[in-house]
Amino acid sequence: MSIEPENLLWMYTTMLTIRRFEEKVGELFAVGKVPGFVHLYIGEEAVATGVCAHLRKDDYITSTHRGHGHLIAKGGDLKLMMAELFGRRTGYCKGKGGSMHIADVDLGILGANGIVGGGPPIAAGAALAAKYRGAGQVAVCFLGDGASNQGTFHEGVNLASVWKLPAIFVVENNMYGISLSQTRSMRVQDIADRAAAYDIPGFVVDGNDVIAVYEAAGEAIRRARAGEGPTLIECKTYRYRGHFEGDPMIYRTREEEEMWKAKDPIPRFQAKLLEMGVLTEAKAKEINDRIVAQVEEAVRFAEASPWPALEELLEDVYTVAA
């Protein structure tokens, strides 16, 4: 598949934005500026990026507890995200959601989700709305290897299959559900094999290769837009950080981590782009500097933002008729 240079650069920039954003969030969490639980996406950037590269603004995604990468790739605003992580009223959710619930319905982002496996039925429903409207929209459900053992995964994929909905289920297999390795949580080696149970296509992709993800997602999204039904894509990847910030990671070896870091999706893609002549060292530095500045700006925005007013506690529970 030949990819336009501007798409390649968008993907490079997006992956790097996710990385720098997440690194900063990790730093801020460590010094107590970000309250609550934080699950970082570092190492998995190629998945969200390669998939969202195909999405329109009016396409839907459902995300997970490890959702910052999906949001950024779908067009989320760094300032509003950071302010939400800080619990400020300028944040995406006015400080009521936090890391695990960031959403932007106007961008089709139907929420990160604190419940593992919460997303598949919701994505099926968004895909139903898309099909009903008939405007060629799709719904992408991001989920983890752990979520693929939940009943909601089976129910969501089955419904999407039986109703031939324009849904794409993207399993980010980072090999661990918190501490439990995939080999101890299921007998299949490839979660994509589960697609056979629904009579839909299932692909295994190197989730640390953004081009491989882009190509598989492109085919799945083409099928969905053409009314050919859902697809299951398993992206094999790895989270470089713990399940959450503060995780002692006693369940995996440093050797394994090093092996995966050698397959880091960002340097890999950068090397490829340099080789192709799409990117130069100077341009790479310029992009990085710009992203660092954007992330710093997001932090300044968040820090300067007010806390929610206490009366806001009681607002937004119900939609009040106009």
């Binding site: 995406y92 619930h101 919460g118 139903l128 909601t152």
Partner: protein, 324 residues
């Protein structure tokens, strides 16, 4: 005025609303070809087609979850949970997803979802098909809980539910489906949070829900023969709860009995009594009483089941106690 059964009134509400708004669709187990196991969705498939009347697999999480996604995507789903007892396999999609999304998202989500379901004992359907679990949903901010007792209320409240932009749990007592009552032909709405005084009285307030409204009315009839005047108040919705009407009634009668079919412990009655005590303690001439099911699963045998369901006799006895 013409009469309809409770099930026919619901059916008419669905049809009239679906004709009005093409974004409304119905989905659930056996709602299409079969017309619903209690006949509530009969004829919908023939009139509105498969896109809008969707038979689902037996997949309660996906029935509710897909309603959440579809509502977020601009549709107005009316999902059916065949029996309220089945919520256990699907509760996450309702209470963690549907109910909380608007708040978690800082107010930006709009989720016009109706989850229709059946509750109640009386058909020997035993412990997993007969429960009254309305109190579970009352405990969840973000949900509205509707508990109609008559065909008239059923139609008006269902139309209101469909037009509401929030997740609404609409609970239909299965023993009421065959009940007949006057129902206007034209569409009409009944506001949520507006209790209905089903019978006026002066000696005691009996707050009752769903099937218990009719037992309370029968009890009131009997008590009237003995000179005891009973006011029967039907809240019609539990969230929002019309505390004001209940409290005003108690201020008049100075006595309160609450009747529901759900087990007493942790039931809606506790909430209603507590609200009245908080707001009208000084008006009470006797301790409030609750008439409700015992703290057991719903038994199968008709003999045991009838002993489980609050009876007219028990309501009469409770009223006599509070007026003594």
């Amino acid at each position: 005025m013409r009469t309809l059964t409770f099930a026919q009134a619901l059916n008419e509400a669905l049809k009239q609303e679906m004709r009005r708004d093409p974004t409304i669709y119905v989905a659930g187990e056996d709602v299409g070809v079969y017309g619903g196991i209690f006949g509530v969705t009969a004829g919908l498939l023939q009139e509105f087609g498969e896109d809008r009347v969707r038979d689902t697999p037996i997949t309660e999480s996906a029935i509710i979850g897909s309603a959440v996604g579809a509502a977020a995507g601009g549709l107005r789903p009316v999902a059916e949970l065949m029996f309220i007892d089945f919520i256990g396999v699907a509760l996450d999609q309702l209470y963690n997803q549907a109910a909380k999304m608007k708040y978690m998202f800082g107010g930006k989500a709009r989720l016009p979802i109706v989850l229709r379901t059946t509750c109640g004992a009386g058909m020997c359907a035993a412990a997993q098909h007969s429960q009254s679990l309305e109190a579970w949903f009352m405990h969840i901010p973000g949900l509205k809980v509707v508990v109609p007792s008559t065909p008239y209320d059923a139609k008006g409240l269902l139309i209101t539910a469909i037009r509401d932009d929030n997740p609404v749990v609409f609970i239909e007592h299965k023993m009421l489906y065959g009940m007949e009552g006057e129902v206007p032909e034209e569409p009409y709405t009944i506001p949520f949070g507006q209790a209905d005084i089903k019978r006026e009285g002066s000696d005691v307030t009996v707050v009752a829900t769903m099937a218990m409204v009719h037992k309370a009315l029968t009890a009131a009839e009997e008590l009237a023969k003995e000179g005891i005047s009973v006011e029967v108040v039907d809240p019609r919705t539990l969230t929002p709860l019309d505390v004001e009407t209940i409290v005003n009634s108690v201020k008049k009668t100075r006595r309160l009995v609450v009747v529901h079919e759900a087990v007493k412990q942790g039931g809606a009655g506790g909430e209603i009594v507590a609200s009245v005590v908080e707001e009208a303690f000084d008006y009470l001439d006797a301790p409030p009483k609750r008439v409700a099911a015992p703290f057991t699963p719903v038994p199968f045998s008709p003999v045991l089941e009838q002993a489980f369901i609050p009876s007219v006799e028990k309501i009469v006895a409770a009223v006599k106690e509070v007026v003594a």
